[in-house]
Every structure is written in C-alpha cells, then in structure tokens.
Subunit: 272 residues, 2 copies
Amino acid sequence: MKRAELISIIKERQSFLCVGLDPDVNRIPKHILEGENPLFEFNKAIIDATRDYCVAYKPNLAFFECHGIEGWKAFEQTVQYIGDSHFIIADAKRGDIGNTATKYAEAFFRKMPCDSVTIAPYMGEDSVKPFLEFDGKWGIVLALTSNRGADDFQFSEIGGEKLYERVVKQTVKWGTPENLMFVVGATRPEYIRGIRALAKDHFFLVPGVGAQGGSLEAVAEAGLNKDCGLLVNSSRGILYASDDTDFAEAARNEAKRISLEMKSILQEKGVF
Amino acid sequence: MKRAELISIIKERQSFLCVGLDPDVNRIPKHILEGENPLFEFNKAIIDATRDYCVAYKPNLAFFECHGIEGWKAFEQTVQYIGDSHFIIADAKRGDIGNTATKYAEAFFRKMPCDSVTIAPYMGEDSVKPFLEFDGKWGIVLALTSNRGADDFQFSEIGGEKLYERVVKQTVKWGTPENLMFVVGATRPEYIRGIRALAKDHFFLVPGVGAQGGSLEAVAEAGLNKDCGLLVNSSRGILYASDDTDFAEAARNEAKRISLEMKSILQEKGVF
C-alpha cells in the first residue's frame, strides 16, 4: 500500500487505529480454543468485528511461530483474510546482514502480501535498506520502544544525543516517507515530539496505548502531522476486552470507542 | 545442550566449527532444486557430509521463511535431522518485549528442539531474559556483527566506551556462561580480544570467517579461552564449495580442511 492510499483510508474512516493480532492461547476464549484452527478463527472474528474502525492490522509473528507449522499457516490465512483494504504490518522485528535481510523482505513482501515489516536497527544500514526496495512496501524501524528495557540502550548518550535519536537521524537518510516508518512507544509521549522534529513527514507506529498505559491524546498532541502520520496500535485492550463468547462484540466496542476518540482528535486538530 | 556437553564434543572432535545452513535457491545445485523438497534435501546432504567435522549447525531462518509454510516445514525437518549430537543455533535475530520474547523462546525451545536463538539487544533486558529461562537452552546476543552496517550504531561512543561494549557489559549481568553467548564478528579480530576481557567464560559465536574474509587464526588468537569458548561459523564457504553434483563432497572437504586447522590451533594453544 502506497502512502497516498494509507492517508486516504485514514481520512475516509477518520481513524488511525492499528489492531495488533497477538492470539495468545492462554487468553483466547475457550469455545474458540476447542474448535479447529483456533488462531485463525480468533483472528477472523476480531477482524470481522473491527474492520470498520481501523486502518491497519499488526499480526505479531511470535504468537504464530510458537505453534510451528500450524502457526505459520494461521499467519498466512490471517494475512490473506485481511486483504488489501487495510495496511498490514508483519510485526517480526527482523534484522540481519544484507543478503539475509533480502530473504526476510521476500518472505513478507513476495511470499505473503504484507505491506510492512518491523525491523531492529542494531546491525545498521545493510540490515534496513533491503526492506525499502519494494514498491509500495515499508520498513518500520524500531526507534523508541514502549518496554522497560528501552532504558538499557536506547537512552544511551552519544555525543549529546540519545541512541534512539541517532537511529532516527541516520535511518531517515536510508529511506523516504514513502517507504520508511518508525516505531515510537506511546508510554513516552514526551519524546514523540522530539522524534517528530527529526522525521516530520514519516508515519510512526505507536504501540503502548491501552494495556501498556499510554494516552492517546498525549500521543496525538505530540505526534500528529498534516497527513496524520500516526498509526496507533492496541492489541490486548481490544483482543481480550472480554474472555467469553461475547469477545468479538467487546472487541468491536473497544475498537469503536478508540476510533471515535481518534475522529474527534482529527477534527479538533483540523488534520484533514 | 548444556555447557559441559558442548565443551565435551569440542574436545572429542577437536573442532569448534559451526556450519551455517543458508539454503539459497539461487545457489543450490540444479539436480537438487529439481527434486522434491530441495531445501531439506540440500541441508541433509550437507549435514551428512559435514557431521564429523563440526560441533554446531546454524540454520538461518530467513532462507526458510522466504518459502512460507514449505520453508518452515523444511526448517523443522532440518532441525529434527540434525538431532542431539550437535549444538543447534536458530539464527533468527529475534527480540521483542517480554511476553512476545517468551513466545519466540517457546517457538524455538519447546516447539522445536533448538539449543539456542540469536537475539538483537536493542530492546534491552526484558527482550533478552526470556530466552535465558530454559534449562540447557541459550540466548546468543548480537554484540559486534561482521557486516558493514555494524559501523552505524555498534561503534557509537557512549561515555568512553562503544555501544557494543556497553551491550556486552550489561548483558553479562542478565545471564551466565551456562545460558548466554555473544555474536562477535570474525572480520574484526582486533576487537574480539576486548570483548573476551568483558566476558571471559562466555562462548562467542563468530561469523565472518571464509566468504566474509575473516581469518581463523586471528580469531582464535584473540578469542580462545580455557574451554575453547568459540564457535566459528562458515556458511557459504562450505555450502557452495561446489555448485555441481559433487557439492556434498566439496562441502565435506572444506569442513574437514577448516576442522584440521582448528585441531592444530587447539593443540598449539594447549586448550585441552
């Protein structure tokens, strides 16, 4: 999906919600778990319930890979089922040397119809660039993450700036706002503004709203740009809004609630 | 595989060779490609040919994932075929927040019988520790990689030290020489000595000998410890020693050549 189309669906749906698909067998409702192909059936129900309120889905590879081949099948089915009406993020945190990175890009962009892959930046330029060489596809580079461990290295001081700032400054040279996004955690809205100054036209994928405690309003205040420029993710808050037979309806209600908040933010800020 | 057993097979085989399994359809010999299940058949032939000369195998996930479900099947078959006579490294460069990292660890340690997974450190402690909580299993953290992009962030100066040194210093606090190794590229032997000083009992997985130009002797000189402490990887130099029907024999010869060099280094240095 190209940037213009992504902006157009955000405008049309008045939502910049990304639904994270982390199908955890310890939390999927019992009646689904007992059926056939529970990972896909759970995702399918969530997708059906939330489609109208979001613009992106972010399946988290770990929750599929832990089931081996069956999990990988469910991942492929899920991505196929989403289709091209939504921006698809393979949350895979890949990153390896050049020829290997190209194979990962082929896995998600050619073998499967994902629009983007999350990438760890530690190995530098040749681990990132191969993801930026596919038309209409995106690399989403980890800048500042929403977990506690972000403090261990991302905030290290390097010549008057933090490592995560260095990562953004370097990485923007390798791609464009048409093929490169950044992961910027919602739990640290005070830093989002600084990253926006370094990458003013790029989209940010923002995890950490909801279960991890980030505030949508604070994120929007700090990160919105003229094209919106944000994809705010919620995973557990939507997927596990109920652990019973009404889980899909509960997910729909939660996605709707967030999207309405987004709509009023977009209007209030006069983004479109 | 526990540390004592790893040391014992190194001693027994007088080799610290790791064979990297990067089955690339652009380089697999034509007669294998035309058969059924070429990825697994290629790996099987390579494993049969090199088993006696190495102590570890390192399948690179990207080369399987790019074939989707079929690739994932071939990965599982390959790991099963290696068996427990060799240390198995899932070269997957994973790394994500705590609950997700646990799922990745389950994928490789429970669902599949791998001994270890390579991990990117960018997200810090909670992205690394879940891999260290399985008895006889290992996390192998990227410290200094062998690619050109290593210069982009790994050499950044942080309060008088480089980022890769900070990574090693922090990470050794999270694990022990029984569950934690580091990736240290062979193309920079001058830095291996420094990392050895920070992690004197830990094993290092050393890529970059062979096709990437690193020297085995220089690596050994800088990195050996009293238990050997090195797993030196060669991928393309062994896998593609010949691109014809004699590829397995050529791979055997190359693995044998390297292992004989290792044997004489171990003897010369009086390691065992």
